[in-house]
Amino acid sequence: MASDKFGRDEWVAQIDARRAAPPGVAGQVLARWNALPLGWRWIGVLASFAAIPFLTSNDYLIRVAGTVALFATLSLGLNVVVGYAGLLDLGFVAFYGLGAYAYALLSSGKFDIHWPSWVTLVFIGVLGLAFGVLLGLPSLRLLGDYLAIVTLGFGLVFVQLAITMDRVEVPWHAGPIDVTGGSNGLINLDPLRLFGLDFGEPLTLFGYALSSVALYFYALLAALAVVLLVIYHLNQSRIGRAWRAMREDSLAAEAMGMPTKRLKLLAFACGSAIAGVSGGIFAAWQHSVFPLNFSTDLLITLYAMMVLGGLGSLPGVVIGAGILAVIPELLRSPELARVAFYSAVVLGVALFLRPRRNGLIVLAGVILLGLILRLATQTLWPDLLSPPTITVAAESVSTAFERTAQTFGIIVQKWIILPMEPTPPGNVAFLVLLPALLAWARLQPSRLKLGLLAPLLYLLAFVWETRLTAEPAVTRLLLIGTLLVVLMIFRPHGLLGTKRVELV
């Protein structure tokens, strides 16, 4: 090992060893990729992303790609505030909502205002900046935690105002005015019109027909590219260095003569402006805004994206956004979700259990346990079991992959105990599973821990089949919550973030 050398710090050597390319073909490809200049790498990623509408004419897929771009832009904006400047901003989504509502009010029949799109977008950006400064000013004087709670309150108040501002009483007008449309939101917004291009109409380019969804996808991708460029250069500049210094130690940074208050406000305002403009594009894309588009769920999703990829790491944040934006789409179809779930479990066991033999033993144990339990139930209480609930509908199942997924589902449902009335036992199993998993995670590595894994995995599969597939929205948030906690405990720097040494 390199750590034998004199004058070399063991810790530095360990980091170097970790940075060296992993062996094998994948490692070589990775090394080649990393050798490319940074700009080319980003252009490569964005270009392959941009090719999606030419590869598929399926609007649904393009919409998912657009969501990825939107979430990536948003998490990058959040990353400026949280990742670079180290300010815990929990009202980020409110700025996003502010942008969306501003766009909705300025380009719809609500008050019959139809500003040109570029004016609206610039206005929204300035609005975001202004509100960021306004909200930041009182809270930045205080300790960091106050900022968290004040911004969280701002987010909450924003949603409540959006819901309740459909009956605003003003002195100069008889009767209440409907500003935000309450929980029904604002609908029929104007499409984005930029550079003489109407994003609401399909466009034919070199013989390719680009749908409206694809055009919005390009708008979102362009926004992502611009934000990436700006943030990258901002981070390399004096300001970026000052932000990082401030994040590590605000007091020391101030002692070195950095105007910390102004820097914090700048980061805050930057994030808010990015959120606002993204919100404007989002509103145009969706043709409507609703208060619940801007709930805390979105905030938490954004945090999970940022944290998963790695705080302060640009590629990490984009990858995190990609992963977490695609997961809910996978969960949408129960058959697909089942395949994804079991593959994730098998992969997780195979990758994380060392030696590899143990992984195989555990997986075999789970399958065997399931068969035994199923047989026992079948002979003792056959009335309790329900036949597989998946029915084969020929017209809806088109591709070979979907057919395989369905067959897999039927096999799984024949393997696991599927009760006639799945909800109550599923709930009980879930309530047992949660503390059991937590306790298991804190056990010291031992034979007992390995042995307990098989029944736990079986229980997990049982809960999945009985409860989690039935409620994809809840499942998604449960996964995100678990991800946040587990990630913070085991890898607080995320997938691609760099580990920071905490000076005390």
Partner: protein, 310 residues
């Protein structure tokens, strides 16, 4: 003005009821913050779990018809005990799983972990108990008509119970913190964790006990809230947690009498906002009150102007 004066006593009572609940939540926040400098975002959800445990005990003891199997006061006492014990244990579990591994991590890590815990608890409840409202049948335990007429205002028996039990809990807590060995150890840890450890205080045990106490108080607050306002649902903790924290900040975070005072002040502000301005903008008014307050007195009502040590 006359209308204002006529409404004032009733709004005072409403504000004190609301304030008692907020104060109990704020205490948990403040104690944990004082000892770990950690914002426990999951605290509001512990409160929600407390409300659900109280609800469960209540439904278990209420017969479909006929007389109560036990005296009403005993049932209420059981609800409190179950909720406080359950929430205390939950608090210990949260500390053990989500915060203890992060004791020396960068500041942001435990905050995000707390956020994740909060989401986890909320959705676990939604999965098992659905997103529907659950309603406390307080009227079966305490008749709605019971109460004292105080001229223009009316103090119903439920509200009296809430205020009295909150005050009793606070007195017990004050005694614990001021007069017992545990309290002294807790204050020592809050002042300087390392120095306390060197003096032989078992810091981990004190932290666990603090979480237990704070969460138990939140559980009691959940039951109180359920008794007065009846409705319980899975995201109720979010809003309440925010209010509890606001109360803790108003009182001066980390300061125990401050949290009590802050809760009462916040409850009064909120009920006045509802009664005299507009119920629609209730949340916004409390929120702007918080910002204004932070501008004028950033350390809170009773908080000391501490100098940051380097």
């Amino acid at each position: 003005m006359e209308q204002f004066l006529a409404q004032l006593p009733q709004q005072l009572i409403n504000g004190l009821t609301l304030g008692s609940v907020y104060a109990l939540i704020a205490l948990g926040y403040s104690m944990v913050y004082g000892i770990l400098q950690l914002l426990n975002f999951a605290h509001g959800d512990v409160y929600m779990i407390g409300a659900y445990i109280g609800f469960g005990v209540m439904t278990a003891f209420l017969p479909a018809s006929g007389p109560l199997p036990l005296p009403a006061l005993v049932i209420i006492l059981l609800m409190f005990l179950a909720a406080m014990l359950g929430c205390g244990l939950l608090g210990i579990g949260i500390e053990w799983f989500a915060y203890r591994p992060l004791r020396n991590a960068p500041r942001l890590a435990p905050l995000i972990s707390a956020l994740g815990t909060s989401i986890l608890i909320q959705n676990a409840v939604q999965l098992t108990l659905t997103a529907a409202y659950h309603t406390y049948r307080t009227d079966k335990l305490i008749p709605i008509t019971a109460g004292i007429d105080l001229g223009p205002a009316r103090l119903s028996a439920v509200r009296a119970l809430v205020i009295v039990s909150a005050i009793v809990l606070m007195i017990v807590l004050t005694y614990l913190v001021r007069r017992t060995q545990f309290g002294r150890a807790m204050r020592a840890v809050a002042l300087d964790r390392e120095a306390a450890a060197m003096m032989g205080v078992n810091v981990d045990r004190i932290i666990v006990l603090t979480f237990f106490l704070g969460s138990a108080l939140a559980g009691a607050a959940g039951v109180l809230n359920g008794l007065v306002f009846s409705r319980v649902w899975h995201t109720m903790g979010f809003n309440a947690g925010l209010k509890g924290f606001t109360a803790a900040v108003v009182g001066g975070i980390g300061n125990i009498p401050g949290a009590m005072l802050g809760g009462m002040v916040l409850g009064l502000v909120e009920s006045f906002a509802v009664g005299f301005i507009s119920p629609t903008f209730k949340e916004s008014i409390t929120f702007f009150a918080l910002i204004l307050f932070l501008l004028i007195r950033p350390r809170g009502l009773l908080g000391a102007t501490a100098v940051q040590k380097v």
